[in-house]
Subunit: 201 residues, 2 copies
DNA sequence: GTCTATACTGAGATAGAC
DNA sequence: GTCTATCTCAGTATAGAC
């Protein structure tokens, strides 16, 4: 059945989002999905490749929207140089779009980062879009020394990843309420100021 | 033997730094340390508590130096309000101090974050120092709305955690060479500008 | 091609002898 | 304090039914 594959994907997505990747065993997935253990290996090959399939399914649309927004902004600028805020807007806004459709999505993606699964799985799906946005940022900040620029991209990715992490790990900031839309706006202001700061060397 | 406990700690620290926490099995630790498997459970209770002991041993001195530097800066200011740069200096400089003594330290601490072990183990050892520094920052940025301030602290922690991550995961930024001292300076500039940005609401 | 049953290896944890 | 033996559960691999 093609239904089996779907049931596995849906159940895995829900459990990974709720409990995390490491804490979710394949036996729990197949139990709640009502399929056999070996079915996962037949359809995906391994637990990590199951995650990979999940990321592709969820991150694909987000990244597509990111690139579309960036391109639209470039077109709308009509030759004028973009503002860093406009670039971050294109990068961050799609997360709001998807978050409003699926509450668990943000938590799911955030967990992947916080669980350190970035190198093997995430990098692969975000490398392309990151390259594009780094190029756009670089164009707008030509006076920034190369090393300084690269490190700021690094800082940005850390802040971004940490921000996507859901509520569970953010309890310490007692009052951080507000919706996702709000969160994105605050991050945009923070990052824009950080990138605009004068660089050295 | 009290020697057993030390051998376990030293070996675990080395292996965790080199391979990560999850990828290092207790059997590998006891094998290279030349002790018995049950010895870890006798001395520490569990793998996670072994990590906890390690973090305490390594993070304790760093956090002590952080608080000392902050207090010294306040004293030197002599009633004058601190600059955000001075606060970040006190927060970040101790990492350089320790990194110059032990190359593996930074990688070790960074890995803990990137492996998602922050919530249960790290939080406990850094909560105190974070509270102090948040208070100092808040005093210097009184005009910032509370929610905006809290979120910026959140962003900062993400950037900080990601920055401490060693080279292995940072390959993508091909050229990010430079020493740890340099890295800290760049982060200081980035964060200071981010916190100084005008807040909304 | 799809799926089930079952076995294999290695992980962390624990009880009890010495 | 230390060690042996054992337990449970994880991810993985394979043989074979339909």
């Amino acid at each position: 059945m093609i239904d089996t594959k779907q049931k596995i994907l849906d159940t895995a997505e829900r459990l990974f989002a709720q409990q995390g990747y490491a804490a979710t065993s394949m036996r729990q997935i197949i139990s709640e999905a009502g399929v056999n253990l070996a079915a996962i290996h037949y359809h995906f090959g391994s637990k990590e490749e199951l995650l990979d399939g999940l990321v592709q399914r969820k991150a694909g649309p987000v990244n597509a929207e990111r690139l579309a927004l960036l391109e639209a902004a470039v077109k709308a600028a009509n030759g004028r140089s973009l503002q860093v805020e406009e670039i971050f807007e294109a990068l961050l806004r799609p997360m709001v779009t998807v978050a409003s459709q699926n509450d668990q999505f943000v938590q799911f993606m955030g967990r992947l980062f916080s669980e350190g699964l970035m190198p093997h799985v995430i990098r692969k799906h975000f490398h392309e879009v990151m390259k594009k946005f780094m190029g756009a940022l670089r164009e707008v900040l030509p006076e920034l020394p190369e090393q300084e620029f690269l490190w700021r991209v690094h800082f940005m990715m850390g802040a971004l990843a940490h921000t996507m992490c859901g509520a569970p790990e953010s309890l310490q900031l007692l009052g951080v309420s507000a919706g996702f839309q709000d969160r994105i706006d605050r991050l945009k202001r923070f990052l824009s100021a950080g990138f605009r700061a004068e660089g050295k060397q």
